[in-house]
Symmetry: C2
Subunit: 353 residues, 2 copies
């Protein structure tokens, strides 16, 4: 036998010592792109591939694992199917692109009946319809452990409109869509109700007053509406990323990739009243939830100052800060005008375990 | 709580009642393609997508799960990485295409050290180099259970050269590459040695005389060499599929998709001496291993009769049968001239559990 896992133990460095982004950096070392058609590899929301004279192709993949990304004791299967498509569409949106094809790979244990799989697929089909994307392939297999959902999405973007993380310029305005922290607090509510239910199965969950934030956790939307509106208003973001790991973490990505610093205003951060109230109820700082709560799948992007007027009246685009190269680094400007360093404590799917 | 899995139990149909292909058929019901760029959805080795004026894009995904597709007690991590890329490349080869980009999603438990993940990646990089394909993205996450590898591949094919499963015509010649049944018998050897080792850990595995077939199981090759040669000789297969589930099963796909029947000659089936001898040693019928053993990742394709001369002297392309529409159906013509119905007992990753 070839006990690879054991021999490896001679030199054993724990995954958690690197974290998710550190591991990706390490694995990406020495990866060269040999095909002319590979315009951009690892390091943005999607890879960029030559398509036709006018467009680039975009390719991205995401994997959702039971017990890590979702808990089937409170996640309805149909919503899970919907969400798995939406989070992939969001990666294409973050490149200012339009998703067109999706492949779906499912690992299923015999715990799942055909009816259960159909429920997942019903959600996927609903999302495919909402985002006008075609499910064109995939793989279905037995899993001996939990449910595995792996999705890849292919999309297109006009060459002159592709938005990378790296394109922000000094004095560009930083914009965030929707509101933030809601999905994170929705998760806290669902986890609390689960514990209550486990302690006393006769207790019915109290979710009515948390309807909005629970919905944001269970069935997030990809902001393709924003992409279409930016296109209509002829605004091309100078940089963009989707907010999956938390606002602070995404700010860091734009900062690092663009070689500039970010300043964001505490009093400009968009937060829904239900998110705010629930944070207070849970003894959490609402601003921390906004900065570090993951899974909102809103968009963070920068625009040139001259484009500000075109978006000024948009109800769902918030001007939260700007790009600079002051030595102070990435900062949060508090309500009373203090600058405090911006720290990312985003979701790390390797480090947290 | 929303006990979806329990409520579903009210009407519970077991996955095994449908099998993998039945489930895929069921889930594909009502899937409409809304984007003009979606040339072909589910049902072939890869989806076909509009690319530029001369080429189609090809998109395919495969998922490998620990305990289902591989056993880490005898699969070296580096070979596993190599194989996971090769099997995806094989799907693009089966469309007569060339792979260009790959995304890799990994689900890792804390059982894995960084060194172990690097071993997987080393194999992936070696395969990427061999097949001239770029690793451009993916996802890395914690898994609470086994190792999960999900890969998607994007490739290109000249529009007039794309090979579907459906294109075979009456009297076309059926061709198979390489030899068959080897990977299946390699697996039998590895499983036997594992049992021996578990019974007596002091026993060293006896693999020398099985080197070829074990290699075929652990590190299969995608036949991109054949694709390049067909291209050089200006032969466009009228239909094609890769042999992942077993020759008989793949014959059925070409038959069903092309609306014709297959006849294959027992004495034309390519089998390596080591495969044959090992089948006999295991009291297995060598022809059954060739017909139903999976994971060889050779190619099965049809050509027009007039192209026969162009491939006649190729040492690794075997003319194993032909397409017909006789009422007798899909048949194996035995050495003594009898026609027996061809039955597929290929690997069904849902039904077999």
């Amino acid at each position: 036998m070839q006990p690879e896992l054991q021999t490896m133990a001679e030199q054993r460095t724990e995954l958690s010592s690197l974290g998710e982004f550190g591991l990706i950096d390490k694995l990406s070392e020495g990866l060269e792109l040999v095909n002319e058609s590979s315009q951009l590899g690892i390091g943005d929301d999607a890879a960029v591939i030559s398509a036709d004279d006018d467009n680039f192709g975009l390719l991205s993949s995401d994997m959702l694992l039971e017990g890590v990304h979702f808990d089937l004791s409170y996640v309805p299967l149909q919503h899970l199917g919907y969400k798995s498509i939406a989070v992939n569409v969001s990666d294409i949106a973050a490149m200012n692109g339009k998703p067109e094809q999706i492949t779906v790979s499912l690992g299923l244990s015999n715990r799942f009946s055909i009816e259960a799989v159909e429920a997942i697929y019903k959600g996927m089909k609903a999302a495919a319809k909402d985002y006008q994307v075609d499910i064109v392939g995939g793989d279905t297999t037995t899993s001996h452990s939990g449910l595995v959902i792996s999705i890849s999405v292919y999309g297109k973007v006009a060459k002159e409109k592709v938005a990378y993380r790296k394109g922000a310029k000094e004095k560009d305005i930083l914009c965030a869509t929707g509101d933030l922290g809601a999905a994170f607090l929705g998760l806290q509510v669902l986890e609390r109700e689960k514990q209550t239910f486990l302690a006393n199965p006769n207790m019915q969950p109290q979710l009515d007053k948390y309807k909005y934030i629970v919905q944001r956790q269970l069935k997030p939307a990809a902001r393709m509406d924003i992409i279409h509106e930016l296109n209509e208003k002829d605004v091309v973001p100078t940089s963009m990323i989707d907010i999956s790991d938390g606002l602070a973490s995404e700010c860091m990505h734009i900062s690092r990739n663009s070689g500039l610093n970010v300043a964001i205003y505490e009093d400009k951060l968009p937060i829904d009243k239900q998110t705010y109230d629930t944070a207070v109820e849970f003894n959490l700082d609402p601003i921390t939830a906004v900065l570090n709560g993951g899974e909102d799948y809103e968009l963070l992007f920068t625009i040139k100052q001259e484009d500000h007027a075109k978006l000024d009246t948009h109800p769902d685009i918030h001007f939260i800060g700007y790009m600079h190269k002051e030595q102070v680094g990435n900062v949060l400007i508090t309500k009373n005008g203090n600058q405090v360093p911006l720290k990312a404590q985003g979701w790390d799917h390797l480090g947290q375990k």
